[in-house]
Symmetry: C2
Subunit: 215 residues, 2 copies
DNA sequence: ACCTGAACACCGTTCAAGT
DNA sequence: ACCTGAACACCGTTCAAGT
């Protein structure tokens, strides 16, 4: 029972999961997900690429661990903040904030399926809020999916739009102007607006009103 | 004015956008998105990889054209099918069906931003339904985003779960059993259910009820 | 005009060998 | 035990040259 936890016998390792994860999140913030390669991460740690595979079996494993780390503390957002709808809103907002805290955070999260304690703790908190509010277990589970879907989907769009090289507004405006899309033309201001918090709050309010109606 | 549309002068080209797109969608269905490389696509068309770049500037361009093609006809789903809520539901269901029609269809769509007529026509139809129902232009635009977010997000999960090698249910059940997640444990049947149509219809009903409450 | 051939600058991953 | 060095089997993209 001392083999995995034995004290440093030879030289101290230059690598370990925690330090690698920190460096990977730093690199993500500086360079974005497309530039986060195992080779570049190894460079940032002054190590050969192959050495990373002692701590993460695959790149997918590393990304999953990064997503799990991003969710640290998010489950605590509901603590005593009013009724179920306010608690659900607090959890969704905290998740959006956590994803926004890292460049391409939503893409990292969307591409993984963590079953770590932060992610499952968050899910448990959401389902707990719904069950306490009187929703059947099945509906509570489905409300979790809908809430996470919405939050991740929204933040994916938000971070895609904010990134350099995203010419979305102009391109969209041009395409709408060139074609026969009367309804898109009429709603173009909101369609090309970058007030993402308003978009998010609209969707969240719709989601909560819909859940309330189904209780 | 005859230069781009001039009749075949030399040998007939082995490549063109339409044929390449068809082959790419075939390859996607047979092998999945991860195996859809420019080199493998070129192989399937008996051509060198570089030749594809005469018709698509980048791989991203090709994927965008594929997404656009998947959306063919989806905008017509709302034609005279009851009130606004039934029309919105019909559009969302048609989009899910269109994405499910191709392996990794949701991933392809989520990774692109088509401004083609199928995609914009669908968006115009959704916004049109909402405006006709009396929603303000801004809310109609935001309802579009919420609806597309939900539909793509749901179908992403659905296709991820249905794919080979996706051990989601067991892994999740194991993780929930190992940790202290009372609410997840209680709702595990719904959480691990593969009746995705029910999940989708639940979210859609919540979305529509929420929109109705805000009108 | 359309495609080939070959290169450029990369990837993730594996694994014998060193220390 | 931990990491290096080097390889394997690929990528997307570019572009001179052929036909």
């Amino acid at each position: 029972m001392s083999s995995p936890a034995s004290p440093a016998r030879g030289r101290p390792p230059r690598l370990d999961r925690a330090r690698t994860l920190r460096t990977a999140l730093d690199l993500l913030d500086r360079s974005g997900l497309d530039a986060l390669t195992m080779r570049r991460l190894a460079d940032a740690m002054d190590v050969q690429a192959g050495a990373l595979y002692r701590y993460f079996a695959t790149k997918q494993d590393l990304l999953t661990a990064m997503a799990e780390r991003m969710m640290d503390g998010v489950a605590d957002a509901a603590a005593g903040s009013g009724d179920w709808s306010e608690q659900l809103a607090a959890l969704a907002r905290a998740m959006r904030t956590a994803l926004l805290a890292h460049r391409d955070g939503a893409r990292v999260f969307a591409g993984t399926h963590s079953t770590g304690e932060n992610t499952l703790g968050f899910a448990d908190a959401v389902v707990g809020v719904m069950r306490a509010a009187g929703f059947p277990d099945d509906d509570a589970a489905r409300a979790l999916h809908t809430t996470v879907n919405f939050t991740v989907g929204h933040t994916l769009e938000e971070q895609a739009a904010l990134q350099p090289g995203s010419s979305s507004p102009d391109v969209l405006a041009g395409a709408v102007a060139a074609g026969a899309y009367p309804h898109l033309a009429a709603s173009l201001p909101a369609l090309t607006s970058t007030d993402f918090t308003r978009h998010f709050e609209f969707g969240l309010a719709v989601l909560i009103a819909g859940l309330r109606a189904r209780r």
